[in-house]
């Protein structure tokens, strides 16, 4: 049985990421009533609000690593802070989000602490007696899945994919007795000099975390062709993605690419516009909860995975969807 679990409560721009709460929820379920859940926050200049959120939602102890070296993102500073938490808590399992930071910090912590690493977990499958814990994760970007378990005798490191596990909810305050403590750590020699950060997403949600993704393919025909998609995404509070075809054609940045190469997304709603549905694209989105396809070609393979299909011109249909949405809401 795993008794003590540590969670990396990752924040972005000073705000706790939802995936941190999803990892916390998973930790709380794995630890059960008797286990202890610890969370570690890395910040520069205080994180009292985040710590309160974490204790209210199931963290027994919140460790705050607060140091100027954690202001810009130098991975080695974060590895040192997380390592200090590992040493202080000596957890049976360490959970992180499978985010840009989590996916590079987790392997380092695993290698440093002799731990196994199971990455990009989308579901947790516990046997009836609780003795066998399996982690479900996609292979080939979702063309297959595996159930993977840890070999006993070593700590576990797990990264969980955003948007897949239920987030920790606030627990009745009367039952909560979370404590918050400072986590001292030795800042290592910093190798990484952060020389600049250019926001290219215009504050857009990370695709992997978005509830709604509106995605364009070759059918969008140009960079300007993405405008109606941005409008629809904005009215849905979602993010815009693209197929490899659209990226290769130069209509948009590779950062938006969804597929087996590119990002894998699992939103509540995925709207594919002018995307034929090459197998490598389907791998990146077919686990979305509801899929809508808009395409002129009735034989496009995307219709094979769509819950709702519209055979038609995206330049006609997409603005109508945006308008209809606004009409229904007003």
């Amino acid at each position: 049985m795993i008794k003590t679990i540590l969670v990396f409560a990752e924040s972005r721009d000073g705000v706790l990421r939802r995936v941190a709460l999803e990892a916390l929820g998973a930790a709380r379920r794995l630890a059960g009533k008797d286990g202890a859940v610890h969370a570690v926050l890395a910040c520069s200049g205080g994180a009292a609000e985040e710590a309160a959120t974490l204790t209210a939602r199931g963290a027994d102890v919140v460790h705050i690593a607060d140091d100027p070296s954690l202001r810009a993102y130098a991975p080695e500073a974060y590895v040192a802070a997380l390592g200090a938490a590992m040493a202080a808590v000596r957890p049976d399992a360490f959970l992180l989000g499978h985010t840009a930071a989590g996916r590079e910090l987790a392997p380092r912590v695993a290698a440093a602490y002799g731990a196994g690493h199971i990455a990009d977990v989308t579901a947790i499958d516990v046997s009836h007696d609780g003795g066998d814990v399996g982690f479900i994760r996609p292979l080939y970007a979702g063309k297959a899945f595996e159930r993977r378990s840890f070999v006993p005798g070593h700590p576990w490191v797990i990264t969980v994919r955003p948007n897949n596990l239920p987030a920790a909810e606030p627990i009745d305050a009367a039952e909560r007795t979370g404590t918050v403590t400072a986590l001292p750590f030795t800042v290592p020699p910093l190798y990484t000099a952060v020389r600049g950060l250019v926001r290219r997403t215009g504050g857009q949600l990370d695709l992997a975390e978005a509830d709604v993704v509106v995605s364009g393919g070759r059918g969008v025909r140009s960079a300007a062709g993405f405008e109606p998609l941005h409008a629809l995404a904005a009215s849905l509070g979602g993010a815009v993605g693209a197929s490899r075809g659209a990226c290769d054609a130069g209509y948009c940045d590779y950062a938006l690419q969804i597929g087996q190469t590119g990002k894998v997304v699992t939103p509540q709603l995925y709207i594919a516009c002018g995307i034929s549905g090459a197998i490598q694209h389907l791998a990146g989105m077919s686990q979305s909860r509801v899929i809508v396809a808009i395409n002129k070609d009735p034989d496009a393979p995307i219709f094979g995975v769509a819950d709702y299909g519209i055979i038609g011109d995206l330049f006609e249909v997409v603005p109508l969807l945006t308008a209809e949405l606004q009409r229904v809401r007003s």
């Binding site: 100027p68 810009a72 993102y73 130098a74 991975p75 840009a100 987790a106 392997p107 380092r108 695993a110 290698a111 440093a112 196994g116 690493h117 199971i118 990455a119 066998d132 292979l139 080939y140 970007a141 063309k143 297959a144 899945f145 595996e146 159930r147 993977r148 378990s149 840890f150 020699p189 910093l190 190798y191 990484t192 000099a193 952060v194 020389r195 600049g196 950060l197 250019v198 926001r199 290219r200 997403t201 992997a208 590779y254 938006l256 597929g259 190469t261 894998v264 509540q268 709603l269 197998i279 490598q280 077919s286 509801v290 899929i291 819950d307 709702y308 519209i310 038609g312 209809e324 949405l325």
Partner: protein, 282 residues
């Protein structure tokens, strides 16, 4: 002169269907390729060698069929290749990283390149575990790489000095633009270091005919984990896995969808209505 090691994995072509059988994923008639992210890593290694001189060594952990991927890497421009035999090694990132680190350490590379992740397992864990074992810093998800001398680094415009790295005195540095969930961050790290390649880092070249001919004479050797670690308890510990696959599953099937009839306006109206009533969204 740079000594550059590129970590490669041979994977299913991304256009392949994956068929799950009781014996595992059906590999019969499957087309295998160099993992697309590793192609960017290999191309970058060759470009850096062309700019600065040196040597590119391609290293892959895989079964015998992955010789083909290494031969392709040699044809594209790698100078040497090493295959770590995966038979006898568990399917586990910890064990594979331990063995790869043992292969790479004596090569003492100035630069280690790898893909951001492999499109089969999708974990992206091995290269970073290798870096940790070899005490190398890293910059992941690179979309642009420039190798500079210490002097050149000092003369770079000190764009936002977001942190103050220690007074390091490396001979060379990598200036890396990296994709961070869609934003671009520029970092510099001292060599030796690991850099993982994101899509769009470069335009990978194809092997040329003379390249293919030359590749036949380039050295390609195979190492087994036993040769690396020997036998006995310490060796077994080095090769021990931390995780194990307990089941291989096909993806859950999706029910057939509805095609919405009517004019575009009718289609739009019925879609919004279905999303609200049937899918319980919006």
């Amino acid at each position: 002169m740079l000594k550059i090691v590129v970590l490669l994995k041979q994977t299913f072509d991304t256009e392949e269907k994956i068929v799950v059988t009781p014996e595992g994923v059906d590999e019969r008639d499957a087309k295998f390729v160099i993992n697309p992210y590793d192609e960017y890593a290999l191309e970058e290694a060759i470009r850096q060698r062309e700019l600065l001189g040196g040597q590119v060594i391609a290293v892959s952990c895989g079964p015998e069929r992955s010789q083909e991927a290494l031969r392709t890497a040699l044809a594209i421009g790698a100078d040497e290749a090493i295959r770590l035999e995966s038979d006898g090694l568990p399917d586990d990132s910890y064990a594979v990283a331990a063995a790869l680190a043992a292969v790479i350490e004596p090569l003492a590379p100035d630069l280690l390149f790898a893909g951001l992740f492999a499109v089969d397992s999708g974990a992206g864990s091995v290269a970073l575990q290798v870096a940790e074992r070899l005490h190398l810093p890293h910059a992941s998800s690179a979309v642009k790489v420039t190798i500079v001398s210490a002097g050149e680094l000092a003369s770079l415009p000190a764009a936002e000095a977001l942190n103050a790295p220690a007074g390091l005195s490396a001979e060379r540095y990598a200036v890396v633009e990296r994709d961070v969930e869609g934003d671009t961050e520029t970092v510099s790290i001292p060599l030796p270091a690991l850099i993982t390649a994101q899509q769009g880092l470069n335009e990978p070249r194809y092997p040329s005919l003379p390249g293919i001919m030359k590749a036949k004479r380039k050295p390609l050797r195979t190492i087994t984990a036993r040769e690396l670690f020997g036998s006995g308890a310490a060796a077994d510990e080095n090769m021990a896995n931390r995780t194990v696959r307990t089941q291989l599953l096909p993806p859950p099937p999706r029910a057939a969808g509805k095609i919405l009839p009517g004019t575009p306006a009718e289609q739009a109206a019925s879609l919004i209505s279905l999303l609200q009533t049937e899918a319980k969204l919006l």
